[in-house]
């Protein structure tokens, strides 16, 4: 049973401390994958998976359970919700700023429609903000990132791809 002092907002606050395993500078709340929390006879956390094959999905689910267990909540269920599907538009403004400070260019807004079309847009360098950058590889260290290089400051950087 959940203690009476623990409500939905408290739990949402705790979840805002759970890091993403692949980009730990982001929390799962920044990433926009926490969709709902229900507190009734137990706690049910609804999470939206990012990519179908994202290896982090299961790690995130166990981190959520562990984070709540650490605060004394034993009866936690994680539910996967597919609708509406997660896109990079779900990443919060705070999340985008954290990505930039960390050296990863954040995804553009409206990604779900535009980015899938053929054209490549200019991706600003997260270090010097120059738009004079070039794509090195569409595929980076994880499924969600591409590799870029800044032609002005010469720094290589990662870009969080829009989907």
């Amino acid at each position: 049973m959940v203690e009476p002092t623990v409500n939905r907002d408290t739990i949402l606050g705790w979840l805002a401390d759970v890091p993403d395993p692949e980009i730990p500078v982001l929390t799962i709340t920044d990433l926009g994958i926490v969709r709902d929390v229900e507190c009734d006879t137990g706690v049910v956390v609804s999470l939206a998976p990012t990519y179908s094959g994202c290896p982090a999905t299961e790690v995130i689910e166990s981190s959520v359970i562990a984070a709540l267990e650490d605060r004394g909540i034993a009866n936690v269920t994680v539910k996967r919700v597919l609708s509406p599907p997660w896109t990079t538009d779900w990443i919060s403004d705070a999340g985008r700023e954290k990505l930039r400070e960390y050296g990863i260019a954040p995804p553009e807004r409206g990604g779900s429609k535009r980015a899938l079309l053929q054209g490549q847009r200019r991706i600003p360098c997260p270090r010097c903000a120059s738009e004079n950058t070039e794509l090195v590889s569409e595929f980076g260290s994880t499924a969600c990132k591409a590799s870029y290089r800044c032609v002005d400051c010469l720094e290589p950087f990662e870009y969080f791809k829009c989907i």
Partner: protein
């Protein structure tokens, strides 16, 4: 079959296509000569395996017989898989791999788009998730098709040969059977006739851009949707299932 049973069988078939193609691509992991393509292939393969898991889990829940994703992937014999012959074809050379991917992805993308409008909510949701990924794959593989076709003399002739050889496996995609009809009539599912038209148009444009030629009408092979597979499929299944069958219940 009741409409509900047809739905289960149809979803399993979607899972089989995703799993078998994903498994073929996984055979290439650590074998690409170039890092970018290595990562692209591994990432795409993971997407297909992830999609297969979503389809299988849902089919298992609907079936209500206690079967889950591992049972469908690892404990069914070859003839119970209902994937298209196209996706089980061996990787061959890079041109074969890319042409197989393009031929399937253009079809799969149109199918998923249609499934996002079907009346089964969960299936529509899975399709919406998968569709975004397949679009990304197609963009990548479509660019390769152009590079190979419009590249050197050798890459052009090899890509044309891949297209000629794999073409015979494309007819099966649009040959509607009882399950396709059941989905269309009971669940507002995809209309394969309309998808065929869309596919021909898109493939025609891509092949033209790649300076390749659509093969002449040929005998179309079929049987995958009925569980009658090509010889190479047995080896794929044997390798994929060897560990869980040798050590049932093995866990990390």
């Amino acid at each position: 079959m009741t409409p509900e049973q047809s739905l289960v069988a149809y979803i399993l078939r979607l899972g089989d296509n995703a799993l078998v193609l994903g498994q073929r691509m996984l055979e290439l992991v650590a074998a690409y000569p170039e890092l970018e393509e290595e990562l692209a292939n591994a990432n795409f393969a993971l997407d297909y395996i992830g999609q297969a898991r979503m389809f299988y889990s849902y089919a298992g829940e609907l079936e209500g017989a206690g079967r889950g994703e591992d049972d469908f992937a690892f404990f069914r014999p070859e003839h119970e898989f209902r994937n298209l012959l196209l996706v089980e074809q061996p990787n061959g050379h890079f041109g074969d791999t890319i042409v197989r991917q393009v031929l399937f992805d253009v079809y799969y993308l149109a199918l998923l788009e249609a499934l996002t409008r079907c009346s089964d909510q969960r299936l529509a949701e899975i399709a919406a998730r998968a569709e975004k990924e397949v679009r990304y794959h197609l963009r990548h593989c479509g660019q390769w098709l152009v590079r190979l076709g419009d590249g050197t003399e050798e890459s052009h002739s090899k890509a044309q040969q891949s297209l000629d050889e794999l073409w015979r496996y494309t007819g099966e995609m649009f040959a509607a059977d009882a399950l396709d009809h059941a989905l269309l009539t009971s669940f507002d599912g995809p209309d394969l006739g309309a998808i065929a038209v869309e596919w021909q148009k898109d493939i025609g444009a891509m092949v033209e851009e790649a300076t390749l030629t659509i093969p002449q009408e040929t005998h179309m092979a079929s049987g995958g949707k009925q569980g009658m597979h090509t010889e190479q499929f047995g080896y794929l299944v044997a390798e994929m299932q060897s560990l869980p069958r040798t050590y049932p219940g093995a866990a990390w």
